[in-house]
């Protein structure tokens, strides 16, 4: 292993030097690895070649270019497509805390109301947020991030995950707008009914402004918030709509029908209750893997409480099987952390495998190709195939095994070795870079 690491460092440096001198960047390759494709198939004894940040070839009988720097997997390493997070909030600033009493003013600013669809998340990200490194250690290579906050907190942009964020981390800006039904609690709207009315008014205003500007009038005003909504009103872009409970999802449907916009459901913890409708509408879901704690199954103090506890177990089972229900209904399901810490992902995946009715192949597909498809990036990422971004994660065993460890992540061709800290007695150690 020491040898492998040493060679990796050497060829990364060599590659950088070649780039500086304007020469062709040398290829890189993994050999003798087990390749897990997004469709669930596995290719033993595979070779994976990449150059200039893109895969050149991947398969069982792939030739290794003469200039390639090679890491020999020794038949023990497993390679997966890099994981995608369809909606993360890491590194974004905390939204302003609402005061104890909403402000008593009838003059409402967009910022206080949470109407900020034009907000560019790239300008807001705290580049050294520890979750970026933690996410990379888990295997994330691409991440859609949007600001936090009520109502319309900002645009969604896609970033490479390379530990610390840098300007070059931005991969695809402004792929959509994050939308919520959360009231501002500072000024109007302070309630869900106010939020619903605000969406209506914003669309009325956006369409009027669009008509004014389209008329060619020199006096047509500019309004960054409303202009940001033009592509949503035109259905050339979609709201990435964060909603969990059944009522909120139905409100999203209602607004979508009334105002005429496309939507991607984000988080969707109770999406299973609307699975058939989501499928009928072809609304994809970037689902949260956050799960409720397993309920207490002891007998209640009364018959009523015991019966209630029994129903709670059923509700918990339905929650844990949320994704299964969506897949069975034919809904396209991707992944969104939406606040779930990378360090909590593994234990929740274990529950989804053991009690959520999912297989490893389904989880991998959800977290790779499906998410890429929902984000409109499947032509360039989501699987290990020639022409795609060279995004992958390399593990010591199949990803969902208990004893698995991430060895490398490769983000757009950049390889990072994930080092394991020594395990505490009785413990399993933890990852660092």
């Amino acid at each position: 292993m020491k040898h492998i690491i040493g060679s990796a460092v050497v060829w990364v440096l060599a590659g950088a030097a070649a780039h500086l001198h304007g020469q062709a960047v040398p290829a890189q390759a993994f050999t003798r690895v087990t390749l897990h494709r997004a469709d669930g198939t596995t290719v033993p004894q595979a070779t994976i070649v990449w150059r200039n940040g893109l895969f050149e070839a991947a398969g069982p009988n792939t030739a290794v270019p003469f200039d390639a720097r090679v890491i020999d997997g020794g038949d023990s390493l497993h390679v997966y497509p890099g994981l995608l997070d369809g909606m993360a909030e890491w590194g974004t600033p905390e939204p302003p805390r609402p005061p104890e009493r909403p402000e008593r003013t009838v003059e409402v600013t967009n910022e206080r109301a949470g109407i900020l669809p034009e907000r560019d998340v790239a300008a807001l990200i705290r580049k050294e947020a520890p979750e970026f490194g933690a996410a990379r250690s888990v295997g994330f290579t691409l991440m859609a991030i949007a600001p936090r906050g009520p109502l319309l907190p900002g645009r969604v942009s896609v970033f490479h995950v390379r530990g610390e964020m840098t300007p070059s981390s931005l991969y695809r800006p402004n792929i959509g707008i994050k939308a919520t039904l959360t009231p501002s609690r500072i000024v109007y709207p302070t309630t869900i009914m106010g939020v619903m009315a605000t969406y209506r008014q914003l669309f009325y205003d956006a369409r009027a402004l669009q008509a004014h500007q389209a008329s060619g009038s020199a006096n047509a005003p500019r309004d960054a918030s409303l202009e940001a909504l033009f592509p949503i009103a035109d259905r050339t872009s979609a709201f990435h709509f964060v909603a969990d409970d059944r009522e909120s999802i139905r409100r999203m449907f209602s607004l979508s029908d009334e105002l005429g916009f496309n939507t991607i459901l984000v988080s969707g913890k109770e999406a299973h209750t609307q699975a058939a409708e989501l499928a009928r509408r072809k609304v994809p879901v970037l689902v949260s893997f956050a799960l409720p704690a397993k309920p207490d199954t002891s007998a209640g103090r009364t018959d009523e409480e015991s019966a209630w506890k029994s129903r709670q177990v059923q509700a918990w089972t339905a929650s844990v099987r949320n994704i299964r229900s969506l897949l069975d209904a034919g809904v396209l399901v991707g992944y969104a952390s939406n606040g779930l810490k990378p360090s909590d992902l593994k234990k929740n995946v274990d529950v989804l495998l053991s009690q959520g009715g999912l297989t490893e192949a389904e989880i991998v597909r959800i977290m790779t190709l499906n998410t890429a498809t929902i984000l409109g990036l499947n032509a360039i990422t989501g699987d290990v195939r020639a022409g795609n971004l060279a995004d992958m994660v390399v593990t010591t065993a199949p990803m969902t095994r208990t004893s698995v460890r991430t060895v490398y992540t490769v983000t757009a061709g950049d390889l990072t070795e994930i080092k394991a800290t020594p395990a505490a007695p009785g413990g399993r150690g933890r990852m660092t870079e």
Partner: protein
């Protein structure tokens, strides 16, 4: 032949008007309080596909219909509550004196067990209203109590639109006192209404002018400067619809002076067909209310919870009825809604209102106030089968609702009343949080969600209605 045609028409209509569930039932040998056509002894009522298709003796049961033997029991129209806040996940958007754009239909909570409790009191329809924090609050939702269905199914989509107005202490406390936002006084309340109606008229004119100018510009092949668009305004759209008579106003009010004020304002703007809610001092201006064609929807005997509600009397209903005002008795409460029959009975006790008129106050009168009297409120062929079957005369203190049907679907049956009617159990909640204690006249009130807007001094004197 005529009856057959009516039945066919009723069934066809029922299948096209809405997606609300429909049931069929043959109720045999009841004492039928029709409200509109007398009280009929030993009478059958036939319900097919959600509509009443026949009323008579010894009717034959159509295939597929349930049969209920109602011998010795009383059948009346489902009770209608013209003022309610149950089945809502929000009541007040109290950040502006005028929030006409918000809709209670957006925040229906179809899982609220209060709906089932209301069914247990024979109530089949409630008018889910915005609270009274604002001078012009949000638009109401008329709900059929199809407990167990989705929110969209509860909503009577073809019922006329309604809106909540509020006069007096609530809007002046929430907005004016200590916060320097108009209105601070009853004078200010009037001006808020007039200013917003004037703004709505101006908006309507500007929208029409823009539409005309746009047409002209298009016709002239877009030569010259394009007209500046006048965007739709969600708030003013609603106010225009009020002025155009498309929305029924239900106005929270107590004092006779403010009731008179609003009647003057509405006369100035040509608004008709409106209802004063609470209206504790309506008895003082009963002849004027009758002359204006204004309706009232009151408590039977609830007062003294704040300064403007001290001058009250339990004879209010009788006096209003005497002067010919269409009056209803409402709950404004998740508890009181369970026994509106007894609230109506108080009008018989205090002022000698006839039993029929008292029952009208919880059936056809609220239906008139909600604009749904063609569909519900009486037992007549062709009407929706919203019915309640009682163990005794419904105005008796011993009367218990046995069965309640909504559109012919049995939604409550005392003989089959499960101990747990919660529709939802959260995967991560606590049992103790689901055990509600209904504490009388404090639940589901007009001022939910507004305590944050009070100053500390006001909170010491806060109340709910």
């Amino acid at each position: 032949m005529k009856t057959l045609l009516i039945r066919i028409a009723a069934i066809l209509l029922a299948s096209t008007v809405s997606a609300q569930p429909k049931g069929s039932v043959h109720i045999r040998n009841a004492t039928v309080i029709t409200i509109s056509g007398g009280t009929l002894e030993n009478t059958d009522v036939l319900v097919e596909n959600g509509r009443i298709t026949r009323i008579g003796s010894n009717l034959s049961t159509p295939r597929g219909a349930d049969v209920v033997d109602a011998t010795g029991r009383y059948l009346m129209p489902g009770i209608i509550d013209a003022h309610s806040h149950i089945a809502l996940s929000g009541v007040n958007e109290p950040t502006h004196p005028v929030t006409a754009e918000v809709r209670m239909a957006d925040v229906i909570n179809a899982y609220d067990v209060s709906i089932y409790r209301a069914l247990g009191g024979g109530v089949t329809i409630s008018h889910a209203m915005h609270g009274s924090a604002n001078v012009i609050g949000g638009q109401g939702a008329t709900l059929k109590h199809h407990y167990g269905e989705e929110a969209e199914t509860l909503l009577m989509k073809d019922a006329p639109r309604t809106i909540k107005f509020a006069l007096g202490e609530n809007p002046t406390r929430v907005h004016g006192q200590g916060n320097n936002v108009q209105p601070r006084t009853r004078m200010g309340v009037e001006q808020v209404i007039r200013e917003h109606f004037d703004a709505a008229l101006d908006y309507k004119r500007r929208r029409a002018d823009y539409a005309t100018a746009l047409q002209t510009w298009e016709r002239n092949r877009r030569r010259g400067a394009a007209p500046v668009p006048v965007a739709r305004n969600a708030r003013l759209d609603v106010l225009v619809d009020i002025l155009d008579g498309k929305i029924l106003v239900h106005c929270h009010s107590y004092r006779s002076d403010e009731i008179s004020m609003l009647m003057r304002v509405f006369k100035d703007y040509g608004i008709r067909n409106y209802t004063f809610q609470h209206a504790n001092e309506a008895f003082k201006v009963a002849p004027e209310l009758a002359a204006h064609g204004a309706y009232t929807s009151i408590f039977s005997d609830w007062w003294a919870y704040k300064f403007e509600v001290y001058y009250s009397t339990s004879y209010n209903a009788a006096i209003l009825n005497h002067y010919g005002v269409v009056n209803s008795i409402n709950s404004d409460s998740g508890e009181l809604i369970r026994h509106l029959n007894h609230e109506a009975a108080k009008a018989v006790r205090y002022g000698g209102v006839s039993q029929l008129d008292a029952l009208k106050m919880i059936t056809i009168n609220p239906a008139i106030q909600l604009g749904i009297d063609k569909r519900v409120g009486t037992i007549e062929v062709g009407k929706d089968a919203d019915l309640s079957l009682w163990s005794a005369h419904p105005l008796s203190i011993y009367a218990i609702a046995d069965i309640t049907w909504v559109d012919g679907v049995k939604r409550f049956d005392r003989m089959n009343d499960p101990s747990d009617m919660r529709l939802r159990v959260s995967a991560d909640g606590k049992f103790s949080d689901t055990v509600a204690s209904v504490s009388g006249r404090h639940e589901d009130s007009c001022m939910q969600g507004v305590l944050d807007f009070f100053t500390f001094e006001q909170m010491e004197h806060a109340h709910d209605h």
